[in-house]
């Protein structure tokens, strides 16, 4: 199906009006040697039924988290999404619109973004938030670039407890501008080594990045890190990949974070095999003109009625071109809308309860696993809904295979990212994991004793 309304006759009538005999004449400006002389070598078209079956076939070759008990996290979280979220997000007035360049026809999108910006400020404890970034990892990289714009310094302290893929993205992004990344190790607590951070700080330090909960699920001591960073005149960038933690953990803003960037997928967005996700981005008010990304502001119309518009766009590529604060154009608007709807439904009490539920389930799982003789919990720091488990007699891969045989998708094998942790698994427990699932996990893990 081509989804083209105009028939041959319609096209004929238009070609006549244009005054050409065939559409070929309209392509005459393409030099003959640049034209494709054959048809595209692609599969023939499928009917809607054919397509549906084909796609069901492909989808059927993937497991989904409804079929297996899954304990995967590591930056992508399986949370409950109320049915109302997709009902609302997929109202076509929302999802078939473009970026709201014309505010008079886009007040729905714009008010929702304004609400989203407010929610992100409330969650992070920051003063200003943008309309979204691509994902958590690129948001973090953009935060570093922004810090660099603010203070012009060149060195960045980047703990190893930050999500390894986020670190790779950061390196990929910032190295072209000559910024240097200093990776600092973690302690036995699973937290970033404060001493080493301090040792790395100097008056060349642009920013200290810290993820909390970090990649190991451990909450960092933001107060001390903030103090150290600020004492050196550096900015503190806090990264949050599991924002459900905002419901029960003190906000980065309360510790004086300068920029908070992270991944908002956990709110209202499906796992989607890794994307689209939602980069959120917030900072202190003072830095707003250095911010990347779109911002929506409240204003009024000619009659004085309130309305919303894209604003402060002199920061952006379409105005500032090579001097823009970022090259971002299309962002993750619909993911931000999903988060806004989900957060509205959760609300003040629900978000806290959700966070507490994650804490409780995780505590239950940790306690149970810590009783298994063949495992230990290497990190002592406080965790939210993820934690590292050391496998004592087998390899993590063996454990995962054994679990899979019981219909359980185990944890991320940390050796993939940390050679020194190649005997460890990173497990995640959310409100979606029932007690039976956790018990089954422990039982299956214990099977290897």
């Amino acid at each position: 199906m081509e989804y083209i309304p105009n028939t041959e006759a319609d096209c004929r009538a238009m070609l006549d009006a244009i005054g050409v005999r065939s559409s070929d004449e309209l392509f005459a400006d393409i030099p003959s040697k640049l034209r494709l002389k054959r048809g595209l070598n692609l599969a023939p078209p499928l009917s809607e039924t054919g397509l549906r079956k084909h796609m069901q076939g492909l989808a059927g070759k993937n497991a989904d988290v409804d079929q297996y008990a899954s304990f995967l996290g590591a930056g992508a979280y399986n949370h409950f999404i109320p049915a109302a979220v997709s009902h609302l997000v997929f109202r076509s007035e929302f999802y078939t619109a473009y970026t709201p360049y014309q505010p008079e026809l886009s007040q729905g999108t714009l008010q929702a973004v304004y609400e989203y910006q407010t929610l992100i400020c409330q969650l992070t404890g920051m003063e200003v938030a943008n309309a979204s970034m691509y994902d958590g990892s690129s948001a973090m990289a953009e935060a570093v670039l922004m810090a660099h714009r603010i203070n012009g310094r060149q060195e960045v302290v980047l703990p190893m407890a930050v999500h390894p893929e986020y670190r790779t993205v950061c390196r990929t992004y910032v190295s072209k501008l000559g910024l240097q990344l200093h990776e600092v190790p973690y302690t036995d607590e699973g937290t970033t080594d404060l001493k080493q951070v301090k040792a790395a700080l100097s008056d060349r330090t642009c920013a200290v990045v810290v993820q909390s909960p970090n990649f190991f699920g451990v909450l960092e001591s933001l107060d001390e890190l903030a103090e150290a960073a600020h004492r050196a005149g550096a900015l503190l960038i806090v990264v949050v990949a599991e924002p459900v933690s905002f419901g029960i953990v003190r906000s980065p803003g309360e510790y004086g974070a300068d920029i908070v960037a992270g991944e908002g997928q956990a709110f209202g967005n499906h796992l989607n095999f890794g994307g689209p996700y939602l980069g959120f981005f917030a900072s202190k008010q003072a830095y707003v003109r250095s911010m990347p990304g779109r911002l929506v502001g409240r204003t009024e119309d000619k009659a004085g009625r309130p309305g919303y518009v894209l604003t402060l766009s002199t920061r952006e590529q379409h105005i500032r071109r090579e001097k823009a604060t970022s090259n971002i154009c299309t962002n993750e608007g619909l993911c931000a809308l999903a988060a806004t709807v989900h957060l509205s439904l959760l609300g003040r009490a629900g978000l806290r309860e959700l966070a507490l539920l994650n804490l409780r389930k995780t505590a239950y799982a940790k306690a149970a696993i810590s009783k298994l003789r063949a495992y230990e919990l290497p990190f002592a720091g406080p965790t939210f809904n993820e934690f590292v488990v050391r496998v004592k007699r087998r390899t993590p891969a063996q454990v995962n295979r054994a679990l899979l045989a019981k219909g359980i998708i185990g944890g991320v094998e940390l050796g993939r990212f940390y050679p020194e942790l190649s005997d460890c698994l990173l497990l995640c427990v959310t409100e979606q994991n029932s007690r039976e699932e956790i018990d089954a996990l422990c039982k299956a893990m214990g099977g290897g004793r």
Partner: protein, 532 residues
């Protein structure tokens, strides 16, 4: 700030709160302004100005583990106790809120949306159904390879399709949007040139380019040298030759370009740039115009990005998400971001082992749900359908161009490809400019075209109809544009004061920028810096 602080528990009188008004057919008496707005459409306060303490909009899964208190689970100093001002709404309130907001929006499903350069084509409904299949939407990116074979196969196949369509050797599906594709593409060029000795310093960008091109060059550490377009709106090989030297890393060419014209000298330009060791980046945002007819990869370029949310019918979502895959020639393959998807026998695997890789531009593998839609779209249309897309998109654009050229100034009077660009030169003497014309179109039920871009046309109106609009719709749009041209002469104030029929009239963007109000603050905790 004070006007935003509202007591949400007290009942604001109707005329203040402005709730629930619907309004204003032609027979409106106007007796009750302040209550009604427009149409079957409601005033809807912010989330934060609604609700009541203790309300909630969803139930969470039951707690089936011991209900320990928070301070037994986390150190007290880490605990947060409340988020003042956070919404407290029931499900019905949330549903009505966003339903009403949606009704203030204009989408492709509402009507004609000829935003130039944005390719706002119709988004087939079946694609929205298939990406939601649990095997796609509920798969975790770190699931064991044996449990994600369908996802990998889809991505692998999509790569093949896009390679064939674009004429490139390899495709990276990682970038989340066109601009991220540009970033990645320029990084590939940089890495390649570094491997040859030096990344070089400068990137040539035509003056008609989209703002993301220079911005992406800058992110990759390059200076930007602007190249003036030739008098026919296209790149002049001479100008490129003049600017080209061993300091120049690359040229970024948009083809078809933002004037809707095919860069007929692209092969020549590529030869010039390659001769001096530079690379050619192609911005493929406008691929829709030539799909199946000409392949960028056959025109001498090295890297390219494609916007799946344009040519491949992924809906734009009111701002995103999209996907901006990058196509590249073989010599750049060693630098591709990880992981790459490979087929080993009948299995599909993720290969992270690319020693010269530039790294990654994002976590995980890309905007997968967008990839699913693009793949479904390609499979629906097949080779002949894709070619027909380009043909009809170009016929539609030329029809509009032809029908309006006696009414609006056409800076480049040629056949166009996917879009045509007019200016307000004829209306300016009446004091009517492009912005006014755009706003007035709203009164006729159309979304305006892209305006004031490309920058090289003063007062540009860039009209891209796409292939999914019927002749009748085009005729209605043409009639409205003609009428506006007439109005601009007869009654310019009518046009200048437009729009007249939208929920809000023209919004004060200057005020928004002068006094930024970027969030509701009615009840937020004040931090030190903010109150200072």
């Amino acid at each position: 700030m004070t006007d935003e602080v509202r007591d949400k528990s007290s009942l604001a009188p109707l005329h203040q709160r402005g709730d629930g008004g619907i309004s204003c057919g032609p027979s409106a008496t106007g007796e009750n302004e302040g209550v009604g707005v427009t149409g079957l459409m409601f005033e809807e306060p912010l989330l934060f100005d609604q609700g009541s303490p203790g309300r909630r909009g969803c139930t969470l899964p039951e707690c089936d583990v011991p209900e320990l208190k928070a301070d037994r689970l986390l150190p007290r100093k880490l605990l947060r106790h409340d988020i003042p001002g956070f919404p407290e709404l029931s499900e019905v309130e949330v549903v009505r809120h966003f339903t009403r907001l949606s009704q203030w929006n204009y989408g492709v499903d509402t009507g004609f949306y000829p935003l130039g350069s944005c390719t706002m084509k119709y988004n087939p409904k079946i694609n929205e159904e298939v990406w939601r299949l649990p095997g796609f939407s509920c798969a975790h990116p770190y699931q064991p390879e044996s449990l994600i074979q369908g996802a990998l196969e889809l991505m692998y196949e999509l790569e093949q399709c896009l390679a064939e369509v674009s004429g490139m050797d390899r495709i990276s599906l990682q970038p989340a949007a066109g601009a991220q594709g540009e970033t990645l593409g320029m990084m590939l060029i940089r890495a390649f040139l570094e491997s040859k000795g030096s990344p070089r310093k400068r990137v040539l960008v035509p003056d008609s380019a989209h703002g993301t091109n220079p911005a992406s060059s800058a992110i990759c550490g390059y200076e930007v040298l602007q190249i003036k377009s030739g008098p026919n709106g296209r790149l002049d090989p001479k100008a490129v030759a003049d600017a080209m030297n061993e300091d120049v890393a690359a040229i970024m060419v948009t083809n078809p370009n933002t004037l809707g014209l095919f860069e007929d000298q692209i092969a020549e330009v590529a030869k010039i740039v390659h001769a001096k060791g530079g690379q050619v980046y192609c911005d493929g945002a406008n691929l829709n115009a030539i799909i199946g007819i000409s392949r960028p990869g056959d025109t001498g370029i090295d890297v390219l990005h494609i916007n799946l949310h344009k040519t491949f019918a992924v809906p734009h979502g009111g701002g995103g998400p999209g996907a901006g895959p990058v196509g590249l020639k073989a010599h750049l393959a060693p630098f591709m971001p990880v992981p790459v998807i490979e087929k080993k026998g009948k299995r599909f695997v993720l290969n992270e082992d690319l020693p010269s890789s530039v790294g990654r531009v994002r976590a995980f593998y890309g905007n997968f749900a967008a990839l699913v839609r693009a793949y479904a779209y390609i499979r629906s249309l097949g080779p002949s359908g894709l070619r027909r897309v380009a043909e009809v998109a170009v016929i539609n654009a030329n029809y509009i161009m032809n029908q309006l050229k006696d009414y609006y100034h056409l800076p480049y009077d040629k056949f166009c490809k996917h879009e045509c660009v007019f200016s307000d030169a004829r209306q300016l003497p009446h004091g009517v400019q492009t912005l006014d014309i755009a706003k007035r179109l709203m009164d006729y039920g159309f979304h305006p075209p892209t305006i004031y871009f490309p920058l090289i046309v003063k007062g540009a109106m860039m009209i891209e109809p796409t292939e999914t609009e019927s002749k009748e719709t085009l005729d209605q749009f043409i009639a409205a544009m003609k009428r506006i041209a007439e109005e601009a002469e007869r009654d310019p104030e009518l046009v200048r004061s437009a729009p007249h029929k939208t929920r809000v009239s023209r919004l004060d963007e200057a005020k928004a920028a002068r006094q930024p109000n970027l969030r509701w603050k009615g009840n937020a905790p004040k931090t030190a810096t903010e109150s200072s």
